[in-house]
Assembly symmetry: C2
Homo-oligomer: 437 residues x 2
């Protein structure tokens, strides 16, 4: 990404301990902020944050960018700006391509290298197609801003194309949208597409009725939102039905191409398929030369080290961490933040010679998912509920956790506006229109 | 853009008169809105608006997208949504590639055709490089949202690359920004880059001082803002100097490549050049088979027809219209709106059999340009002033003319936030990062 005449070692200044954090998602950023000078009792530590993007992305709201409700900048903040006041931290826009554990050195795509004393890998996940990588072209997943604007373009173009299509079968295929995977992202995406078709654009076309669009949510398992208790899954299914989303459980997707997808042997003409079914960890395991689990995650112990590699931490979605109940810690933002903060405390203890923290212990705070306008499900363990109050809570929590006061206000304003008017603020077809059409 | 099995004629319903408007900028949109049923006294008219984008763009603020102050969606609104209530208007996302005057038929890139009774061409301009098309690659212009996000990416990446560049000469070239052309767009762009470097990102880097960036504004003529009176040009030059923008008049750009530009024989290493120097009309003249003027504009008479083609109107930046004082009507939004409204009145008169309006007569309402934060120049003829009050007026006027209540509030909020904090809300490097780096 960054071109240089000759490669340089961008290690720390002479004598200072150097912490390299790869990835500025929730895990990496919380770790960096936990290592600000006020937490270090005078210990001299240099922190380098490497990310392939210049922004921290609030991924839980990315589906709202993909469905034209928010602008990319509403849910992203420049990493440099977040840590601008933290003088011991610097930010590099670059991509990690390997780790030399013996030399304690990170290899960057630009050709530069970074020597570390402690390395924190918080590089997240990408979508995975269970051995069907050829589906990626027809069923984009949703992990980056470019993914989101690509999906937005595709969804909006489908309505445009349907408007001038005279053949009824082709028009029906253009107005059929499939979301594969009924976890929170899939449920939220299907609900948002339904809202778009049934409300936001409903009066804007002359030939088609956008509200006649067919929105399918396909889940291989027996129910939507499998991470939630059964009663909330049922509640979500009812809300989806109200929105006119066709939830199909036990639906095995067997083929996807530009024109259709095949579900349990049945071929359904469908011009827009969105993938929310599975993820695969970044290549951290192969950088470290350890065996990943079946999703490519790096198994770590209760100090968030891969066994035997005590100067490297793996956190967030990239790590496979056992929770106290024997399950794995889920790949959600609060878990990544807890790991990032915990690693910061352990590194601070190492740097200052203070007492090490207790081993990492994940505390599950709850699960939330929204289903379109005015409906959500909330599962806080003993407390769990759904409906309008859950939806308000969902909005408040998401605005509260957004980084940057400006973003919070803009998002809150956009939501209020949409709630009152049913309109969407970011219905732009940008980028190479021809590419996806 | 829109693929169809066989090409269709998308002409009007049987017997209804059909107006085709090409381009949904200020001219086309004002024309369409002037033909809403309430203006037609019962006359039955069908209107088709064709645009290659799905949004109307408020171009006067595009430079703020290019400099990370606003998001694309803040200054764009879906065309369909703007005319959703106007039942006699429909919108096609398509591109015009030709006009058959004899058959009264428009040829679209999709293969479809549109028969018209009246045709309004409002297709605007693109940047032009005075016979140096090879400069387009190195000195992007600013006419579309994709142009703006490309420039934003390039400008933000230049700072990122400078941060890791050790060679002082290369670092200096990365921190040199040239804007070619000191009309309002060039002045506003140079001022906005200066604000970005001197304020918004100033504390975010560790190696470089963004405030040391060199920002050059190059003008071939003798002064900045040649369309304004001389005293305001001088005021603008002073404001630019205060911002640290190096204004060079009489500067003839002789060569541009990825690494430098050559001005009056001097080669200046410079990694970011932005083109604001010249425009060329869309190919409307060649579609009609008439001779364009030297900027490709279609000469039209005081009924906005090319001579002898009475069923076609050419309006906005694409038209060369003589103003009462013998000069040409400037290529600005108010002029396009006046032409669009005038054509709507004439078409309504034709459709209803009412009296034709007086010939088109351009009223110049004034010229405004802003120079960074808190400074602007305003020229209303007898009334003309500059400074803070001019800047407040500039803000009010631009927010007022933005289409869509939501956009107005979001832009006003963003500006207030930036004014108070010096921060930018849309500092995202998106798209293909590698392409431009």
């Amino acid at each position: 990404m960054v071109h240089m005449e000759a490669s340089s070692n961008l290690g720390s200044s002479a004598g200072r301990k150097h912490v390299v954090i790869v990835g500025a998602g929730f895990g990496g950023l919380w770790c960096a902020q936990g290592l600000r000078p006020s937490k270090l009792k005078g210990a001299d530590l240099e922190i380098t944050i490497v990310d392939q993007h210049n922004y921290h992305l609030f991924q839980p709201l990315l589906y709202q960018v993909a469905t034209a409700a928010l602008s990319p900048a509403d849910i992203a903040a420049p990493i440099r700006n977040i840590v601008r006041g933290q003088q011991n931290a610097r930010v590099l826009l670059d991509e990690v391509i390997g780790v030399d554990r013996r030399a304690k050195r990170v290899q960057l795509a630009s050709g530069d290298t970074l020597d570390y004393d402690r390395l924190v890998l918080a590089t997240g996940v990408r979508h995975a197609y269970f051995g069907h990588d050829e589906w990626a072209e027809f069923a984009p997943g949703l992990k980056t801003i470019d993914d989101a604007t690509r999906i937005r373009r595709h969804v909006l173009l489908a309505f445009e194309q349907a408007e001038v299509e005279r053949d009824p079968a082709r028009r029906a295929a253009l107005l059929t949208f499939a979301v594969v995977g009924a976890g929170p992202t899939g449920v939220e995406m299907a609900g948002a597409i339904a809202e778009l078709a049934r409300h936001a654009i409903v009066g804007d076309f002359r030939t088609i009725q956008p509200s006649s669009a067919r929105i399918m949510l396909l889940e291989a398992g027996p129910r939507a939102l499998p991470a939630f208790r059964d009663s909330l899954s049922q509640e979500a299914a009812r809300s989806l039905a109200t929105l006119g989303v066709e939830l199909r459980t036990g639906a095995k997707v067997e083929a996807i191409d530009a024109e259709s997808l095949t579900i349990n042997g049945e071929r359904v003409p469908c011009r827009t398929t969105i993938w929310a079914a599975g993820v695969r960890a970044s290549p951290a395991a192969s950088w470290l030369g350890v065996a990943g689990d079946r999703n490519g995650r790096v198994p770590v112990n209760d100090h968030l080290h891969p066994d035997g590699i005590d100067d490297v931490y793996v956190i967030g979605d990239t790590a496979a961490v056992l929770a106290p109940d024997g399950s794995f810690v889920p790949g959600i933002a609060p878990a990544a933040k807890q790991m990032g903060s915990w690693v910061a405390r352990e590194i601070a203890a190492w740097a200052t010679g203070g007492p090490a923290p207790w081993p990492f212990h994940y505390k599950h705070q709850g699960s939330l998912a929204t289903i379109g306008r005015k409906s959500a499900v909330v599962d806080f363990g003993r407390m769990h509920f759904s409906g309008f109050i859950a939806w308000v809570l969902w909005c408040v929590v998401h605005v509260f956790f957004l980084i940057g006061f400006r973003n919070r206000l803009v998002v809150a304003w956009n939501w209020l506006w949409q709630y009152l008017t049913f309109q969407r603020g970011a219905r732009l077809i940008t980028g190479n229109d021809r590419q996806d059409s």
